[in-house]
Each structure stands twice: as structure tokens, then as C-alpha cells.
């Protein structure tokens, strides 16, 4: 497994470059340091990692004029830390050099083989980080409450239908667009027996849903059995932006069972009937 991220190279390069200035220990001061022998300590965390994983190297030194971290890091400050991303097992060595001589310290990072590369990997429970585990645990509970809510919603809508729109008087009016029609529907107004029952203005999202073939239930209400007059007014725009308006008048017969009325709308240039009524 190779790591294709170049980030560590940048940071290492810059760490090396930046630390050469050795802000904590000016070069002049180093030159006048006492000639005691230098010492250096180096540690890595974690000491075992997968290829490409970030590992932090931390070091400190005394009596050193310069510290070099190898391989690949270069000159660094007297103490500090940096991150590396080794692709294979590597022993990093810090060399402290001063007027009193030099000292070395090393830390080995063991690279363990990465799991086989795949787009989706099944991970066992222990490998999943705790926040992800928590996320999934919550996700399951959320799915349950969604299921419960859907069941409640179904029961409520049946209750609502029974209470407010009993089948003996129920009439539902649906709106769809003729297949492939491109008009921009702005509004639909419905009157049953001269009474305004619906005046709907469409949002872009709703219009898009209609264009894709969705059917809108624009009105549910109650009427007595027998014949009823339905007046439909459609406002819209043509592709060029011109306004248009169409009206239609229909009669539908309400029987004892629920009545479903479908209105299929089409733009004036489509060649289809502008407002067609279908009954179910």
C-alpha cells in the first residue's frame, strides 16, 4: 500500500527549513556554548503504524549546537516534534552536535501491512472508532423511530379520512402534466359548483416533480352524491416567457364510493388538450 498524499513531504521540507533558524537558540549563543558533551532523546508515537499513517517524532537535547533528524527530516530545533508518514519500517535517528562532541538517539517505527485495498471494507466491531460506533447506534434508533412514525402517520391519515372525508362524500382532485410537456405551470384554481375549493401556486421544486411525472393531490373534500360542476383555471408561462391562461368546465358524478378526479394539463403549443379530465 502506498501513500499518495504529498502533504508530509511539504511539512517535512518546511520543518527542516524552518528549524534551521533555531529560534530558541540563536546561532551566536550556540557558538559560545560551554564545551559540555551534548545529549539527545528521541521518541515516536505510535511506534507501530500502517503505511501512510501519521506518526509523531518528539525530541529534546542539551548542549547541542545543531540537531539533525534522519532520514528525510534534516536539521531541526534543539527540541520539538514533527510528524512523518513512513511507507515502510524506519529507524529515525537524531544526531546532536555541539562543541563537546556529538550524541545519537534513535526510534524505530514498525509499519504493519495495510488491509487489502478495496472500495468498501467490512470492519469488525472492534476496529470501528467509538464515535462511528456511536453514530451507527444512534442511526439504528433513528431508523426505528422513523418506522414507528410512518406507521403512526398511516393510521392518522386513515383516521383523518374517516373523520373528515368519509368515503360516501369524499372527492379527491389530482393534477398531472401531459407527458413531455414543457410549459411552466404557475397556478391552478378549482371551483366546485361555483365555490372556490383550491388555488395552488407552484414552486420550482413542485413544478419539477410534475414534469418528471409526479401527480399532485391538489384537493380533498366532500360533496353530496350526484352531478357536480368543476371549473378549472390554469395560469402558466410558455418557454419564451409569455403568459397564458386556460379555463375548462366539466361535470363529474359523485357516487357512494370515493371519487377521484384527474386533471391532465398541457401547454397551448403541445397539441394536447389544455385541460383534460379523467375519472377513476
Amino acid at each position: 500500500m502506498r501513500d499518495y498524499s504529498l502533504r508530509p513531504m511539504v511539512s517535512l521540507g518546511l520543518v527542516a527549513l524552518a528549524l534551521m533558524a533555531n529560534g530558541r537558540m540563536p546561532i551566536a549563543a550556540a557558538q559560545t556554548a560551554p564545551s559540555a558533551s551534548p545529549s539527545v532523546a528521541l521518541s515516536a508515537s505510535p511506534t507501530s503504524a500502517q503505511a501512510g499513517q501519521l506518526v509523531t517524532l518528539t525530541w529534546s537535547s542539551t548542549n547541542a549546537a545543531s540537531i539533525t533528524l534522519e532520514p528525510a527530516v534534516g536539521p531541526v530545533a534543539a527540541q520539538g516534534s514533527t510528524t512523518v508518514r513512513p511507507s515502510h519500517s524506519t529507524t529515525y535517528t537524531a544526531t546532536a552536535t555541539g562543541p563537546g562532541g556529538s550524541a545519537h538517539a534513535s526510534a524505530k517505527i514498525i509499519i504493519t501491512p495495510a488491509p487489502p485495498s478495496a472500495a468498501v471494507q467490512k470492519r469488525s466491531q472492534e476496529e470501528i472508532p467509538s464515535d462511528q460506533r456511536q453514530m451507527r447506534g444512534l442511526d439504528e434508533q433513528i431508523q426505528e423511530i422513523k418506522s414507528d412514525s410512518l406507521r403512526m402517520s398511516a393510521e392518522l391519515s386513515q383516521l383523518e379520512e374517516k373523520l373528515l372525508y368519509p368515503s360516501g362524500t369524499q372527492v379527491a382532485i389530482f393534477v398531472e402534466l401531459a407527458k413531455g410537456d414543457t410549459m411552466r405551470l404557475d397556478a391552478v384554481r378549482l371551483q366546485i359548483d361555483g365555490q372556490l375549493v383550491a388555488h395552488y401556486i407552484y414552486s420550482a421544486k413542485e413544478l419539477q416533480a410534475l414534469h418528471k411525472g409526479g401527480v399532485q393531490r391538489i384537493y380533498v373534500g366532500n360533496v353530496a352524491t350526484g352531478d357536480h360542476k368543476l371549473e378549472v383555471l390554469v395560469d402558466g408561462k410558455l418557454e419564451g416567457g409569455t403568459d397564458f391562461s386556460r379555463t375548462g368546465e366539466f361535470t363529474f358524478r359523485k357516487e357512494v364510493k370515493p371519487k377521484l378526479v384527474g386533471l391532465t394539463l398541457a401547454g397551448p403549443r403541445s397539441g394536447n388538450t389544455p385541460i383534460a379530465l379523467g375519472e377513476w
Binding site: 502506498r2 501513500d3 499518495y4 498524499s5 504529498l6 502533504r7 511539504v10 511539512s11 521540507g13 518546511l14 520543518v15 527549513l17 533558524a21 529560534g23 501512510g52 530545533a77 510528524t83 487489502p116 485495498s117 478495496a118 472500495a119 468498501v120 471494507q121 467490512k122 464515535d131 456511536q134 453514530m135 444512534l138 442511526d139 439504528e140 433513528i142 423511530i145 422513523k146 418506522s147 414507528d148 412514525s149 410512518l150 403512526m152 402517520s153 398511516a154 393510521e155 392518522l156 391519515s157 386513515q158 383516521l159 383523518e160 373523520l163 368519509p166 379527491a172 389530482f174 416533480a209 418528471k212 411525472g213 409526479g214 401527480v215 399532485q216 393531490r217 352524491t225 357512494v256 384527474g262
Partner: protein, 626 residues
């Protein structure tokens, strides 16, 4: 390799996006209504509508007479799609399994198996996905052939069988719609199969395919980015640069490509050339990780070119930028802790279209989103965010239901108040009318039976008029009085009475047929008013029943629903709090990681400034010395 994993993710996501299933003209309004909601992303409503429709359909005696019959397979497929879209993975697939196990033809069963496999794959159930794919035999609908093979290859890749994936993808090369994704995935499959050289050549092809739409362009860019990175890794800097240069400058991968293109040049010691892409990148959005990296890389390049003065200025800018960004991250962390992030999320205007996550960063009062783009793009976090919004939506629904239940109670109470005093009187009147109606109907029935009997055994006297009946009775009385007497008066009157009787009998007998016909006509004329009466009677019964049904028998159901809604609300409140807390924690962890990185970069910039000034000063003094 992380980059590659992300790329594969994109190829899958696009290749497996499933539009709701509709084939042919729509015949069922309620299915159309479910689609209408789904097309607007209102999956709760879509599911509720479709679940109800399917439940009703499955209990019909003659489902073939129902309009849903024309769409039943599409409807079952759509339920699965909607469930996935509504992030209900546990339920998704159940409806499709029902199709798979039902008596359907081969093509439909194969499509069901494909959809089931796709759901299992998206849920990460790879073995189940393989099993579902194994069920596909014989005729496969033309429109899913390409998607099916693409899915098969993805499953092979996910189950560590890149060699098999290579074979499948190689067959799919001619599919124009999937071209970019197939080409890219083939490259990755080759790489995973341990064939790096072939992978490079394949990605090279993928990186030069014509791309007409944004997804195709994105996958081409990714191909070039991965290829460039691989070539760079193998030390082929020139070819790496060529590949990276092909990445579209405005695309989502352009920042990474510019950064890496610069490094390809820098690694070949071409620092002046590295500065070309880097100087484009350095002016971009300063919160982007690549931009922050290049802000240090640019002065590094100047330093390498021994332009220490310019390097010092560059490091100075970097220092300032990192300080500002650290402040910004701190402000974001504070803001998240104050709950601003979640508030911004639930704002309606931020969710109007599919790119809402991206546009969040433009929202005022939401500084926290600047550093969360990477996190927000991850699948798990997106699911968590969407779930949070779903919970908010559920909360408002549950509250609305609570209000509805109160309103139902009111309606029921008012209806009771209205009907209860009226109904006893109405019922009493009805009982009286009912008995009169029944009596009349009985009479009519009796008449009809009599007439029927008279067809076979004529009874003319039944059809005598009232006058004739009176006359007949009077004649009978006279005949009785005359008796058997033989007195002359009686003897004279008896023939007269007999003549009268004869005349009457003659009339009744000779007019019998006409009278019978007329009686039938009259009886038939009764039919229309009796039908009307029956209709009114039935209508009254329905209305009377409806009156009772409008307020009787709901108490238990409403009380139970109210309890369930209350429980659900409590659970939702608790889940919102926990989900919100988790989102905030993950976001804060991410910001803290970015902060740590910014602090490290700030330190680097600080050293860079000092080093550059030092070197610039030394260079100046060297020049002075000479």
C-alpha cells in the same frame, strides 16, 4: 491510498444513483402522488403514501382490477429506493424481496435481484449482494444491463477480487453512459490487482476521455489526480506534471492538482516552474488545506531560489494568515459549542436544493462551516446531518399530529353535541315513516302477487270498480229480500234483478282483460316512485350511520395514538439531543485537528521568517564582504 478510496466512492455513488422506477404511462394516482413527493425529496410522505397503497393492494380480492396493478413491480422497487433515500437501511429491500419471491417473469425477477444487490451493496452487506447477483439468470432488461455489470464489478472490488472486477469492467468499456466511471474503476481495479503499469496506462486513458457533464468531468479530473500522484511517487515528475495539468482548473480537485503539480516541479528542482501553479493556488480560499500548504510552499520555493527577501515576506504573510485562521477556528469552535452550527443546519433556506451542504459555508452566522467541508463531504457525517434534519422534521410532524388529535377530539365532541339531542327525535320519526313505508311496500307486493295469480286463474270480481261492487252488493241484497217467495211482485222483480246481475257480470267479465292490463300498467307506474323511495331510504340510512360514525368509536384509537405520539416525541427529543451532541463533537474534533495543524504551520512560518531574514542578512553581509 486514501485519495483512491475517495475516488472509488464517487464512481460508485454516481453509477448507483437510482431514480424512482416508473415505466410506461401512469395509471394510479396514488403511486403518482408518492412519486411527486419523492421527486421533491419528501421521502417520508412518499413512503407513507406508497406503504398505504401497497398494504391496501395486497388485501384486495381481485388486485388485477386495481389501478396499482399496472405499476405493482415499480411500486415495490420504489419503496426500497425511498427507504434508502430516507436512510432506513434496515427496512430497505424487504419490498423487493417480496417481488423476488412472487410469481413474476424472469426479467422482472432479475431486475428485482439487481436492485436488491444494489441495496445490500450500499448497506455494506457484500455477501448478500453477491448472493443476490448470483440469482440473476436469463433475460436481463436492457436498461439495467450496464448498471448491473458496473455493480458486479464494484462488488468484486469491495470483496477483494480486483481480478474479477477487471474482467467485468473490460467488457463494459463500450458503455457510453458509464464510460468515465468504468475507465477510472478499471484503472483502480488493475492497481488493486497488482498491475501498476497497466493501471497507469488505463488511468491515462480515463484522464483523457471526453467529458460532457459535471460528474464525468469530476471523474476525469480524479483519474488525472490519482495518475499524477502515482507517477510523482514513482519519480516520473514530467509525466506526473502532464497528468496534473489536465485537471480542470475550476473543478473540485484543482487545488490538490495545483499543489501536486508544483511539487512535481519542485522535486525536479524546478522551483521557478513550481511557482506557476502554486501562485495560482495561493490566492484561493484560505481555509482550504491545499491553499494553507501552498502558503508555506511558495516562500520555500523562493528560499530554494535563494530569494530570501521574498521568502521572508512570504513567510510573513503565512504567519499572519495562520494567526487569523487559528482565530477563526477558535471562533468556530466557540460558535459550535453555543449551538450555532445546528441552528444554521436547520434553517429552511439552507436546504432548498441538493447542494445545501456546500452552500452552508455562505451562510452568515455560520463561521464553523468553513473548516468542515471535508468532514461534511464524508458519507457518515452527511448521513448524521440528514438524520438530524429528519429528526427535526419528525419532531414538527409529531407536534402537528398532537394538534390534529386535539382537533379531532374537538370535532368529535362538537359532533356529539350536535347530533345527540337531534338523533332520538329523528330516529322516532324515522321509525314511524319506516313502518308506513314497509306497509305500503307490503301492499304493493301483495297486489303484484294477486295480479300474477290472476293471469292463471282469472278473478274478474277483483277488478270490479267500487261502483260495480256497490251495485253487486245491492243486487245481492235485493236477491236476498226477494228470497224464494212466489208472490207476484217478487216473481216480477226477480227477472229484473237477474238482468241487472247479468249486465254487471257481462261488464266485469268482458272488460276483464283490459282491466287486468290497466292494473299492470298502474302497478308498473308505481315502480319509479318506489325506486326513488328506496334510494331516499338507503341514503337516509347511510347518512344516519355516517352521523353516528362521525363521532362514535374513536376514543380508544385517539387515546392510543396520543400516547404513541407522546412517547415518540420524547424519544425524538432525546435522539435530537444526542445526535446534535454527536455532530457537534465530531465537528469540534475535526476543527481541533485543523487547529493543531494550523499551529504547527504557524510555527513553521515563524521559523521560516527568522531563517529567511537570517539568510538574507548573511547574503547581504557576504556581498558586502566581497
Amino acid at each position: 491510498m486514501r485519495a483512491i478510496r475517495q475516488l472509488i466512492g464517487l464512481a460508485l455513488a454516481v453509477g448507483l444513483a437510482a431514480p424512482p422506477a416508473t415505466s410506461g404511462d401512469l395509471r394510479d394516482f396514488y403511486f403518482g402522488e408518492a412519486l411527486y413527493h419523492a421527486y421533491q425529496g419528501q421521502y417520508f410522505d412518499a413512503l407513507q403514501r406508497l406503504d398505504t397503497e401497497l398494504a391496501q393492494y395486497h388485501v384486495l380480492d381481485e388486485p388485477k382490477l386495481d389501478t396499482l396493478h399496472y405499476h405493482i413491480n415499480d411500486a415495490e422497487f420504489s419503496v426500497g429506493d425511498f427507504e434508502l433515500d430516507y436512510r432506513m437501511h434496515q427496512r430497505a429491500g424487504r419490498a423487493i424481496k417480496a417481488v423476488l419471491e412472487g410469481a413474476v417473469d424472469e426479467a422482472v425477477r432479475n431486475e428485482a435481484a439487481f436492485r436488491l444487490a444494489r441495496i445490500h451493496f450500499q448497506k455494506g452487506q457484500l455477501d448478500d449482494a453477491l448472493q443476490a447477483l448470483a440469482r440473476i439468470k436469463g433475460t436481463v432488461p436492457e436498461q439495467i444491463k450496464g448498471d448491473l455489470e458496473f455493480l458486479r464489478a464494484n462488488v468484486y472490488m469491495a470483496t477483494g477480487q480486483p481480478g474479477e472486477a477487471v474482467k467485468v469492467l473490460a467488457q463494459l468499456k463500450s458503455n457510453e453512459r458509464l464510460a468515465g466511471f468504468v475507465a477510472y474503476n478499471l484503472g483502480i481495479a488493475l492497481l488493486q490487482d497488482g498491475r501498476p503499469q497497466e493501471a497507469i496506462e488505463q488511468l491515462d486513458k480515463a484522464g483523457q476521455l471526453p467529458a460532457g457533464d459535471p460528474p464525468a468531468l469530476a471523474i476525469r479530473d480524479k483519474s488525472n489526480l490519482v495518475l499524477g500522484t502515482m507517477l510523482f511517487e514513482s519519480g516520473n515528475f514530467e509525466r506526473a506534471r502532464q497528468s496534473l495539468d489536465r485537471v480542470h482548473l475550476e473543478g473540485p480537485f484543482s487545488n490538490q492538482a495545483l499543489l501536486r503539480a508544483g511539487w512535481a516541479e519542485a522535486s525536479a528542482q524546478q522551483y521557478d516552474r513550481a511557482l506557476v501553479p502554486w501562485n495560482i493556488l495561493v490566492d484561493r480560499e484560505p481555509t482550504d488545506a491545499a491553499v494553507q500548504e501552498v502558503i508555506l510552499a511558495v516562500p520555500h520555493a523562493y528560499a530554494s531560489l535563494k530569494l530570501h527577501g521574498r521568502a521572508a515576506i512570504g513567510y510573513g504573510h503565512a504567519l499572519e494568515l495562520f494567526s487569523n485562521q487559528i482565530e477563526r477556528v477558535d471562533a468556530s469552535i466557540r460558535s459550535i459549542r453555543e449551538g450555532q452550527f445546528l441552528n444554521a443546519l436547520i434553517r429552511e433556506e439552507s436546504r432548498e436544493d441538493e447542494t445545501w451542504v456546500i452552500r452552508l459555508r455562505n451562510l452568515p452566522d455560520a463561521p464553523e462551516t468553513y473548516y468542515l467541508m471535508e468532514l461534511m463531504a464524508s458519507h457518515d457525517f452527511q448521513t448524521a446531518l440528514h438524520n438530524y434534519l429528519d429528526l427535526e422534521d419528525l419532531r414538527s410532524r409529531l407536534n402537528a399530529w398532537k394538534t390534529s388529535l386535539d382537533a379531532f377530539d374537538d370535532i368529535i365532541r362538537l359532533r356529539g353535541q350536535n347530533y345527540e339531542p337531534l338523533l332520538p327525535e329523528v330516529d322516532a320519526q324515522f321509525r314511524e315513516l319506516d313502518s308506513r313505508i314497509r306497509l305500503r311496500l307490503e301492499q304493493r307486493k301483495h297486489l303484484a302477487e294477486r295480479l300474477q295469480a290472476m293471469l292463471t286463474s282469472p278473478r274478474p270480481e277483483y277488478l270490479a270498480t267500487a261502483e260495480e261492487q256497490i251495485a253487486s252488493e245491492r243486487i245481492a241484497l235485493i236477491e236476498k229480500r226477494l228470497g224464494e217467495s212466489n208472490d207476484p211482485e217478487s216473481l216480477a222483480l226477480r227477472p229484473r234483478a237477474a238482468r241487472l246481475r247479468g249486465t254487471l257480470t257481462w261488464r266485469v267479465e268482458t272488460e276483464y282483460n283490459d282491466r287486468l292490463t290497466a292494473a299492470y300498467v298502474h302497478l308498473n307506474e308505481l315502480k319509479a316512485p318506489i325506486d326513488a323511495l328506496n334510494q331516499r331510504y338507503d341514503a337516509f340510512i347511510r347518512t344516519r350511520q355516517a352521523a353516528t360514525h362521525s363521532y362514535v368509536g374513536y376514543d380508544v384509537q385517539i387515546a392510543r395514538l396520543r400516547e404513541r405520539v407522546g412517547d415518540a416525541l420524547q424519544r425524538v427529543d432525546m435522539l435530537i439531543a444526542r445526535q446534535g451532541h454527536m455532530i457537534e463533537t465530531v465537528a469540534i474534533n475535526q476543527l481541533e485537528a485543523r487547529r493543531e495543524r494550523l499551529v504547527a504551520q504557524q510555527t513553521q512560518a515563524r521559523f521560516g521568517v527568522a531563517d529567511s531574514y537570517d539568510r538574507a542578512a548573511r547574503a547581504q553581509s557576504d556581498a558586502g564582504g566581497h
